[in-house]
Each structure stands twice: as structure tokens, then as C-alpha cells.
């Protein structure tokens, strides 16, 4: 094997017009390196100049560069970290994105040789490779071109195969790789380049799914979740005027616009867009988070198809419990869990719900427990893929816990002391608002519900009905009276308020009384993944028309929850008191509207009265409630 050096006019003439074998070339380079230590630096400097170039290279210069890199691979034992600092800087300053595959291959061969030759270079090599996860800024504008996509594929293939090769040679290198990746990860709120950020996470997911997955996959997922949370926290809901929150209401869920009459549909889409635009449109973090979520959803889908979802989900679950659950104000990151559960409801879905229930019932920190039960309630209510029987089982556990709690208490209302209990009661009511209508259609579950001690809990002197959010209590009354499962003599007409002093007291400064983590996802792209498995309030809410068109409404329920073996229709009519309640409810909604009276939204509300579950948005808690 021989290499013929082609020397151009404007390149340093290190080896002129001579033919050298590979080993001779290595010998020359070694010699140059050794001589430089003794003070004879001419050849060494020429070598450095070849590697460190500032202009675009011609074919001959490229050939010389490749030759030098290959020769250096054979001379790594002569490279001295102190004496050859310039050469080392030149090598590690090279960017794979700037070269064709021949240079790329020669460079990574050298990197691999350096990493394997001495522990001193491992850090530098890994750092350089991680640095090549993202292209140089000039490349971002061309990323949609086929040529750039090919280059992207070549570079990233090269980077990942080299990382694997280094791990084979240096078994502990994945530990350092994890550190390098987390170190180089962009940190909000710095100005993040969206393309680079997505590509960086793409690489992390590729590592997770690749040969190094068993070694670094866990850390990659954890770091990604942490990153999502940090982006999530940067979305400044405080930009929304305070007045909007004191009124505190979104008049309708964004999802409710789906499926209404054609004449409204177009306008409603505009309305939805305008709401998203108003609150998130100008927010660069929201858009970035949206793109990242889509990337992760695709990855989870891939994991599901390759049978790795359970393994990945375990890591996500632990990460969720450690990072997301305790912050009480994550708005979007939790949809990673929702989507993963939707891919495997039987396994992942149940694990998620069981973990939340376990945190609520068996841990110490009160805020964590309240957060967990809020997640559980929101999940059971919104996840279309959770069967009614699973909901009934979870509800049974919640009710039993609340019932046991009541038995040990003989005092009266105290929102602060009993906040965990009130959070549990609110969760029970919230879930029933969404699921009772479908559950009572199944005789077994209806019986199961009747046997629960819900009435006893709600009538206890701790008075959860007075402490929990009034709007949830009101809607609960409505659903209960419709199903005729329980009776509450103290059912009162609504005053239309969203919160009360007592609810605020049990929610604390974290606002956990208003925390509904799986409210509709306001991120447009991510929502397209969530939507097929998501239950909007309009899908389960009965309307006055239901009483007249019962058949149609039953179809709606079937559609919302899928085929869950519903074999009996047994739904009671509504009492006079409830109609009276409805009127108040409607009025309260009008009163709470933040939308101009003549707006399209207002017309829509007027047209479809009682279509809305009380929904709201508040900066510190949730993008939308109920």
C-alpha cells in the first residue's frame, strides 16, 4: 500500500515530489514531532499549518490533509500534550461538518487513536465529538437542502460510530460522555438556537436508542426531561394581564371547537389559533418546547415499535417522579408521560397511575402528595385509553384512603392542616365529573360506585364540599344528580365563583387547588399527538339537549371512551333544582368571560350554552383547567 503525496503550490512543502509508503510517512511525522521537542520545529509547524487552515481546500490540499491525519494516527504515541499544544488545538478545532467523508474518516480515525492511546485525550476527544452534534451556525440555513441533509447524515453517523468505537476501547468513556453531553447541553434562558437545540436532543435520543443506549440511555432521558422542565419554566405566563386571572377563565376548552357545526368550525379554528397566539405565539420557549416534544413523541413511538417502551418508560417514570412531580407548575413536560402511557395503556398506563397513587398514599411530603393526586385525577379524567374499570379501581383506592382519613378526624374545617385530604376529595370529584357518566352505563361499575363511601366522606365535618374548588363541586353535583347515585341534602345553588378563600387556603402558595396538569395541551404540534387519545370536556359533558336527544348523547359517550363493553343505558333525568343550578352556572360563566361580548367566542358560548366545563388558566398552575 502506497500513498503518493500531491503537493499544491500554495501549501507548505513538507514532503515534495516524493513517494512514501504509509510506514515511511508515519516515520516522518514521528520524526517531526520528536524534533519539535528538541527545538527543531520547521516540519512540525508545517504539519500544524496543514491541519489548521482557514480557507477552502482544493482537492490536492484535501489529499494532503487526509495523508497528514492518517500519518498522525500512527504517531499518536509521539504527541505530547504540552509540547504539541498547537497541533492538538488544531486537531480538536476541526469541525466534521466542514469536510467530505474522506477527511471525516481520517479525522475520526485520528481521534480514535488519540482516545485509545492515553487517558489524557479521552476528555478532549469526547468533547470534540459532542461538539459536532450540531452544525456550525452557517449550516443552519441550508439544513432543508438535500445536500445538507446528506452531510448531516454522514457527520452524525461518523460521530456516533466513533463514540461507539471509543467506548469499545475505553470502557469507562461513556461515563465521561454523559458528563460532556450534559455540560454542553444548552441552558435556558440563554438564547437557544432552535435548530441546534432540536438536533442536540435528536443526538441524545439517538444515543439512547443506539449501541450505547444501555450505558448512557438513562442519563440521556433524564437530562432531556430536565431540559424540558427548564424550558417549561421559562414560559412566562406572567405576561398575561393580571385581570385575566382574577376573572380567571378560559371560556371554553380549545378542544371543544372540534366537531361543532361547519359554520363555526372555521371560525373556531381561528379562535383557537388566536388564543394560542395570544398566550404562546410570541414565546420562543413554547415553540422550542413544542418541537422537542414532537421529537420525543416520535422517539417513544419508535421505542414502542421496537419493544423498548417498557424499559424507557421505567426511566421516564423515575425521572418524572424526581423532577416533574415536585415542581407543581409544569405545563407541558408531563405530556411525555401521557403519550407514553397512550402507547401502552395496559403496562405503562397502569404503572403511571399506580405510582401516582402510591406517592399520594404512602409518602410524607404534603405538597408532593397533593401534586400526585392532581396528576392522577387529571390523568384518569383525560386519558381516553384508561378503561372505566381501571378508573373505578383507582377511585376505590382514593375513596378508601379519604374514608380512613375521615375516621381519624373529629374536628371541623381546616384547609391547611387537612390539605392532603381535601386534594384527595377534589380529585375524586374531578374524576367523577369526567367519568361518572360513562361508568354508570356499566352495571358492574355503577354498583361499585354506589358501594363507595363517597357520600360519607363528603358529608364529614371536615366539609370537603365547602373547601374544594366551588366550580368542581358544582359540576360534581350536576353529574351526581344526573346519575342519581348519591344524594346530598346540602346541594346549593352555585354562586359561580371559581375559587374560594377556603380552596385557596388548602391549595397554598403553590396553587395546588388549581393544578390540573393534563389540561389541554396548548402546543400545536404536540397536541396533534395527544389529541387522538384525549378527552375534552365537550366529549363527556351532557347538555340540556341531551335530555331531549338521549340516543345521540349516548353515542357521544361511546365515542369519547371507546368500546368499554357498555351494555346498558341507565341514565336518569335531571331535577328541577339542577336546571336552576344550570342557569346560575351559565350566568357565572358569562360573568367570568374575559372575551369581549361581541366576539366570536362569546357568540359561540351563547349558541352552545352549557357546553363548557369550567375552565381557566392561571400562570402559576395550569394552562387550562377541567
Amino acid at each position: 500500500m502506497r500513498v503518493e503525496l500531491a503537493v499544491s503550490h500554495n501549501t507548505p512543502k513538507m514532503e515534495e515530489d516524493i513517494n512514501l509508503s504509509d510506514s515511511e510517512l508515519v516515520f516522518h511525522v514521528r520524526n517531526a514531532l520528536k524534533l519539535s521537542i528538541q527545538g527543531e520545529c520547521d516540519s512540525y509547524n508545517q504539519l500544524v499549518e496543514v491541519i489548521r487552515h482557514n480557507q477552502k481546500l482544493g482537492p490536492e490540499e484535501v489529499a494532503l490533509l487526509v495523508t497528514c491525519l492518517k500519518a498522525l494516527s500512527g504517531a499518536v504515541s509521539c504527541i505530547n500534550l504540552v509540547h504539541h499544544e498547537n497541533l492538538i488545538n488544531a486537531i480538536f478545532g476541526m469541525c466534521l461538518w466542514n469536510y467530505r467523508t474522506d477527511v471525516m474518516d481520517a479525522l475520526v480515525e485520528l481521534i480514535l487513536s488519540l482516545a485509545a492511546s492515553s487517558g489524557k485525550y479521552v476528555n478532549l476527544c469526547l468533547d470534540m465529538l459532542v461538539g459536532n452534534f450540531v452544525p456550525p451556525p452557517y449550516f443552519n440555513t441550508m439544513l432543508n437542502e438535500p445536500r445538507a441533509l446528506t452531510r448531516k447524515s454522514q457527520v452524525l453517523d461518523c460521530v456516533h460510530s466513533t463514540l461507539k468505537d471509543i467506548a469499545d476501547m475505553v470502557p469507562l468513556s461513556p461515563m465521561i460522555l454523559e458528563e460532556k453531553i450534559t455540560e454542553r447541553m444548552p441552558k435556558p434562558p440563554m438564547n437557544l438556537d432552535p435548530v441546534a437545540m432540536v438536533m442536540y436532543v435528536e443526538n441524545m435520543l439517538r444515543l439512547e436508542n443506539g449501541d450505547l443506549g444501555p450505558l448512557v440511555g438513562r442519563m440521556m432521558l433524564v437530562a432531556i426531561v430536565d431540559f424540558l422542565v427548564s424550558l417549561d419554566e421559562q414560559i412566562p405566563w406572567d405576561d398575561i394581564p393580571e385581570d385575566d386571572f382574577t376573572k380567571g377563565i378560559f371560556d371554553m376548552e380549545l378542544g371543544e371547537f372540534e366537531g361543532v357545526g361547519d359554520d363555526v368550525e372555521h371560525d373556531s379554528d381561528e379562535m383557537k389559533e388566536s388564543w394560542i397566539q395570544k398566550y404562546l405565539g410570541g414565546n420562543k420557549f413554547a415553540m422550542k418546547l413544542d418541537n422537542l416534544l414532537v421529537l420525543i413523541f416520535d422517539h417513544l413511538k419508535l421505542c414502542c415499535e421496537s419493544g423498548r417502551l417498557t424499559q424507557v418508560f421505567e426511566i421516564l417514570l423515575q425521572s418524572f417522579q424526581k423532577t416533574v412531580l415536585p415542581i407543581y407548575k409544569s405545563r407541558f413536560t408531563q405530556f411525555v408521560m401521557f403519550y407514553a402511557c397512550s402507547l401502552d395503556p395496559e403496562n405503562c398506563g397502569k404503572k403511571f397511575a399506580t405510582m401516582l397513587l402510591d406517592v399520594f398514599m404512602n409518602t410524607v411530603h404534603p405538597e408532593n402528595r397533593m401534586s400526585a393526586v392532581a396528576y392522577l385525577a387529571s390523568y384518569l379524567s383525560r386519558a381516553k385509553f384508561v378503561s372505566a374499570s381501571s378508573v373505578a379501581t383507582m377511585l376505590g383506592s382514593l375513596v378508601d384512603w379519604c374514608s380512613d382519613y375521615c375516621k381519624n378526624q373529629d374536628g371541623g374545617i381546616n384547609p391547611k392542616v387537612h390539605k392532603v385530604f381535601y386534594a384527595g376529595c377534589q380529585a375524586i370529584m374531578y374524576v367523577l365529573c369526567f367519568r361518572m357518566r360513562s361508568m354508570v352505563l356499566i352495571p358492574r361499575l355503577k354498583l361499585q360506585l354506589q358501594l363507595l363511601n363517597i357520600g360519607e366522606i363528603l358529608r364529614h365535618p371536615l366539609s370537603p364540599l365547602k373547601v374544594c374548588l366551588p366550580l368542581i363541586v358544582e359540576e360534581f353535583f350536576h353529574v351526581v344528580s344526573e346519575a342519581q347515585l348519591f344524594t346530598f341534602p346540602e346541594m346549593q345553588k352555585a354562586d359561580g365563583s371559581l375559587e374560594s378563600e377556603l380552596s385557596r387556603a388548602f391549595g397554598g402558595v403553590e396553587g395546588l387547588d388549581m393544578f390540573f396538569p393534563f389540561d389541554p395541551c396548548l402546543l400545536k404540534k404536540s397536541d396533534s399527538f395527544i389529541r387522538p387519545n384525549y378527552v375534552y370536556w365537550s366529549m363527556v359533558k351532557s347538555t340540556p339537549d341531551d335530555d331531549e336527544e338521549e340516543d345521540d348523547s349516548d353515542d357521544d359517550v361511546d365515542e369519547a371512551w371507546g368500546d368499554e363493553g357498555i351494555d346498558m343505558v341507565d341514565r336518569g333525568g335531571r331535577s328541577f333544582e339542577n336546571h336552576a343550578f344550570d342557569d346560575g352556572f351559565d350566568r357565572s360563566f358569562d360573568a367570568m368571560s374575559i372575551t369581549p361580548k361581541e366576539s366570536l367566542l362569546h357568540k359561540f358560548v351563547a349558541k352552545h350554552s352549557r357546553m363548557q366545563m369550567p375552565s381557566k388558566i392561571r400562570p402559576s398552575t395550569s394552562p387550562e383547567s377541567l
Binding site: 510506514s23 508515519v26 500512527g74 504517531a75 499518536v76 504515541s77 487513536s113 485509545a116 492511546s117 492515553s118 487517558g119 489524557k120 479521552v122 476528555n123 469499545d168 476501547m169 475505553v170 470502557p171 469507562l172 468513556s173 465521561i176
Partner: protein, 195 residues
């Protein structure tokens, strides 16, 4: 193999108050954090631990965070390679300028061309890279072989060993085990003749 030793250590593990319900788990997690890292106190890399003699009287340290002080003694298996020690590793790559090995599955090692005895010559045979002894043709160093080599230096951060095949009795372990006795006799008789 040299460089492996067992040490009896008396340890005190400080357990965070949040772990007070699961002290055993917390102590074991703390011990696990020592694994595969060079520890100056033990002068080696902790490869395994076997805790025993747990103190039943953990102390609560006064202060803002009342950590629990749990005393225990443990047997530690340490990997502590020093220059000139003979250790063994599996060859994972052979190239003209170097031989790369993995020692005990976690530590990387490299033997550079200049640290090989002159008898070993690089060959590219049947699509495989191999070093073959010119004196003993069956003494070969190729991928998958287990080598006994001398330690030149040890990078404590990345646990990377620089090795040498200069000393006698180093090379392919399989060949050495079979032929060492015979080879030694030949070498010593050569020595006597030369005297």
C-alpha cells in the same frame, strides 16, 4: 494477577436525613458510588465491597441538616496497578503501532509499538492484524488473546493503563502457560552456554 488486593476498611457513612427510613439502602448506595473510581484513600479502584459489622448506634450529627453517622466495616476489593506489576487483559485491537486491551472488563490498556520486545513483528495475515514472535512462531498476539503485560503507568482519572511487553514472561498467557517452563529452560541453558 497482581494489582488486586482485599482491604478491610472501617468506614463512616453520612446518611442524609431524607434517607432515614431506608438507612441500609442509603449506605449501600453510598458504597456503590465508590465503585470503578480511583480512591486516593484506598490507593486503588474499588471493584467490590462486602459490608459487615454495622454499628447499631448510628449518631445524629448536630447541625442544620442532622445527618446520620453510620459506622461499619467493609471488605473492599481494590485494583491498584503500580509500575512493573504484571497484569492481564484481553486484546481488543491490534494495529501496527499499538495493541489495545481491556483489563478486568473496565480498564483500557495500550501497549505501544516501542514497548514491545523486538522479537514481535507486525504482520497482516489472512485479513487479521497480528504480532508474531520471531523466535517462537506460535507465540502470537491477536484479537481475543489474553496478554500478560507489565504496567508502565496508570491514569487514575480515566483508569487507563500504559503497558509494556518488554519484560520476559510477558506475552500471550495461553502460550506462556504452555511453554514458559520449556522456554525458561532453553533461555537459561542459552545463558549458561554464553557464559
Amino acid at each position: 494477577m497482581e494489582a488486586l488486593k482485599v482491604a478491610n476498611a472501617n468506614l463512616v457513612v453520612r446518611v442524609h436525613p431524607s434517607k432515614s427510613r431506608k438507612v441500609t439502602e442509603a449506605v449501600l448506595a453510598e458504597l456503590s458510588s465508590l465503585l470503578f473510581k480511583f480512591n486516593e484513600t484506598f490507593d486503588g479502584v474499588v471493584l467490590a465491597y462486602d459490608p459487615n459489622n454495622w454499628s447499631s448506634a448510628a449518631r445524629i450529627l448536630p447541625g442544620v441538616h442532622p445527618y446520620l453517622n453510620v459506622g461499619l466495616s467493609a471488605k473492599l476489593l481494590l485494583f491498584s496497578p503500580k509500575p512493573n506489576m504484571l497484569i492481564e487483559g484481553e486484546v481488543i485491537k491490534v494495529c501496527q503501532q499499538s495493541i489495545h486491551l481491556i483489563v478486568l472488563g473496565f480498564s483500557s490498556a495500550v501497549i505501544m509499538e516501542e514497548d514491545l520486545r523486538d522479537e514481535f513483528k507486525y504482520k497482516f495475515k489472512d485479513g487479521k492484524e497480528v504480532f508474531i514472535s520471531q523466535q517462537q512462531k506460535k507465540h502470537r498476539i491477536e484479537n481475543g488473546a489474553v496478554l500478560r503485560f507489565a504496567v508502565k503507568s496508570f491514569d487514575e482519572e480515566i483508569l487507563h493503563i500504559s503497558g509494556s511487553l518488554e519484560p520476559a514472561h510477558t506475552g500471550n498467557v495461553q502460550w506462556l502457560e504452555k511453554n514458559l517452563e520449556k522456554w525458561s529452560q532453553v533461555e537459561s541453558s542459552k545463558g549458561r552456554r554464553s557464559d
